[in-house]
Symmetry: C2
């Protein structure tokens, strides 16, 4: 049994949260810092400078993931990584992503401060994954997805935003088209606000995610014919937006009538040409289907395959499925779930195992090494919104659990079974 | 009876159409030249230079309408104006608007060439109205609307595009924030492609618009709450886009079940924040209701007043009506309708009286002086689309009718009753 976990410096954690929240801050107290915008670049510049000041070796890989490695135990020691992402949703909040990055740094610094000379058996790394949110470039989890082998580098670099700019171009513009090899971690632990109301409702402090829901992200276009809304007779209109409206209404009905637990959404809709007096020629929907149950997800996909042609036929138009991104349901590493609970208990913090419905970088990273996300409460479960908020005490609890987990894994020489 | 109408120079008309089609040309053969874009500015620069080369006095009024006045009869003579607009829809066609401007110039040049010295009893003007289309800035018919007294100058200058830029700013940027007084015409005649299939179907050459439909242009927003599409339970979602989908579907049903002739559309939809994994917090719809019958339009407005709260309640959200732009149905000047038919008959061209459903600059201009739009056929009735096309022979027929009308009005000293 190693000695007690090192306490995180609350002032440091506070200061890091305050500093990182400056970049892309909105008047409402939120953040507008989508991936590879100028504000995102400024936040990353700040992170790199902060890491370097503290002696971390900063590297940037070819898809723009940023890593800061603290070499304490020499080149052959296992590397334990923690982090999250600095990009936000448009008009998003301050905590989603940024907390996990600054908690990683604060926790590693706590471990470093407490470690006796010669007691380091692991090295540590902070990770800032590129484009977790998928707001500007789809799919989400893009940098961690390349790291985890879900996407090829070429695929990821060629993704385009709504204005046609590629990831490659915008990485270069913001100075994050790196050429370094990514570090190779033995374990990955990500802290995150819950983005759901369960911890707050149950009055618990720490929520290791045990499972992640499956998701299908489908991009599909309704294809009509652009025409003047004035002289074009109703019978002759082939209105792509009308077809999309039928799909959007049908998706909600699918969720309401599903036999299992099913979440459906169209969060983004691109209408072309989107002029007040033109019958839309094209309407591209960004559809999501989410469920913890594989059979429910499969049934929903089948229902969508019926819904698209039915809606198109009702509007007298065509459609095409542009892409399908399948994210199967799964489990995070159970040893890391146990470790989070053990460490929380040692700190006197209550816990509750959770599912995550939203994606997290730890999911694709988990294809390369044992991984987990550990959640702390956020007010009202609100996320992706300027009103997103987490108490400083809850953030500190999470960082202390992380520091304790890093401490135990170090003591075990990186062996999770012994941690 | 004056002598025969002067023939328009076909080569000149062709050359003008070809030249004006260069600005904002798309690979598909259409135009992308929304109001106050760089391409629109280039087209207007070309027009001003062309007018000046031919001795027209060019002026620009405070809302950026461009006029080229040919003084043939001295300052006290009546002014007869013709023109249209050089702005296009995004991904629109080459003929909608531009034809009316170049036909005006070609027809006035024909009259000028045939007039004996001392026979001029009128002066002539070419008009290029600012922002007819309403694609980038709403409402449409903005420049002619200020000219006709429908809008104040301040209102028009303060309109914003989707990026928040004002008309005033963009006029200044493109060099068309003028300070000249607008000329004061005694009559206004606008040539335009039909943007409908009636002339082509009936095999007629010339279609004076006798009536214009009424239109209601309503901007209304569905107001939900921005939330993460992952963890937010379906029961808790307040999805603005879902509410908009119910409205869009309901509007189509309104048209299909109306007792009279009713056209309905949502051509533009602004979804906020429009991110794939955010439940939309706001969806702003640009709704149009059109009918030739005032009672049908009134019934449709009442039905929309019921539809908006019903759709909002079904989606569990709120809504607001942002603006309503009412355009009552009406008639163009009957003397000008007769004159167009007389002149077409003199040229051996078949005619057909039409309604216009889309708006035209001649409608607000008609509040200041007798006005009309005379249509020529376009292929398949297609408009607001790169495939928009009109035969050179049909364009020439229209320009010749216009030249004949100008000729007769000149001979009558500007008195329409005597023309």
């Amino acid at each position: 049994m190693p000695d007690a976990a090192p306490p995180v410096d609350a002032a440091l954690l506070d200061a890091l949260m305050t500093e990182v929240s400056r970049f892309g801050a909105t008047p409402e107290g939120g953040l507008n810092r989508p991936a590879l915008t100028a504000e995102h670049g400024q936040a990353r510049d700040w992170l790199c400078a902060t890491l370097r000041e503290r002696g971390y070796a900063v590297s940037v890989d070819a898809i723009g993931n940023v890593f800061g490695v603290l070499d304490l135990a020499g080149p052959d020691a296992p590397l334990i990584m923690s982090g999250s992402h600095l990009d936000s949703q448009p008009m998003g909040g301050r905590f989603d992503g940024a907390y996990g990055v600054v908690a990683a740094l604060a926790a590693i610094e706590a471990v470093r401060a407490r470690l006796d000379p010669g007691a380091a058996r692991c090295n540590f790394a902070v990770a800032d994954w590129m484009n977790e949110e998928g707001a500007r470039f789809q799919p989400s989890l893009l940098g961690s997805g390349v790291f985890g082998g879900e996407h090829t580098l070429d695929f990821a670099l060629a993704r385009r935003d709504g204005a046609g700019l590629t990831v490659a171009e915008e990485l270069a513009r913001t100075g994050y088209r790196g050429a370094d090899a990514a570090p190779d971690p033995s374990a990955y632990i990500e802290m995150h606000i819950e983005c759901g109301p369960e911890l707050e409702k149950a009055g618990r402090a720490i929520g290791p995610f045990a499972r992640y829901w499956g998701a299908l992200k489908i991009r599909a276009a309704m294809i009509g014919e652009q025409a003047h809304t004035g002289p074009t007779a109703m019978a002759l209109r082939r209105d792509a937006l009308l077809g999309a409206a039928y799909v959007i209404a049908g998706l909600r009905e699918m969720a309401d009538t599903a036999s299992g637990t099913l979440y459906t959404s169209v969060g983004r809709l691109e209408v072309t040409p989107n002029s007040p007096n033109i019958v839309p020629g094209r309407a591209t929907m960004f559809i999501e289907l989410r469920s913890p149950e594989p059979e429910t997800l499969a049934a929903a996909e089948a229902a969508l395959e019926r819904l698209l042609p039915t809606a198109a036929a009702k509007a007298g138009i065509g459609f095409e499925v542009i892409s399908i991104d399948r994210r199967p349901a799964g489990r995070f590493d159970p040893r890391l779930v146990d470790l989070a609970e053990t460490e929380a208990a040692a700190l006197g913090l209550s816990t509750m195992r959770l599912d995550t419905i939203g994606g997290h970088d730890a999911i694709p990273v988990g294809r390369r090494c044992p991984a987990i996300v550990v959640a702390v409460p956020c007010r009202g479960g609100v996320c992706h919104n300027a009103a997103e908020f987490a108490e400083a005490a809850d953030l500190l609890n999470g960082a202390n659990v992380l520091a304790g987990m890093l401490w135990r894994v170090n003591a075990a020489g990186g062996a999770l079974d012994a941690a």
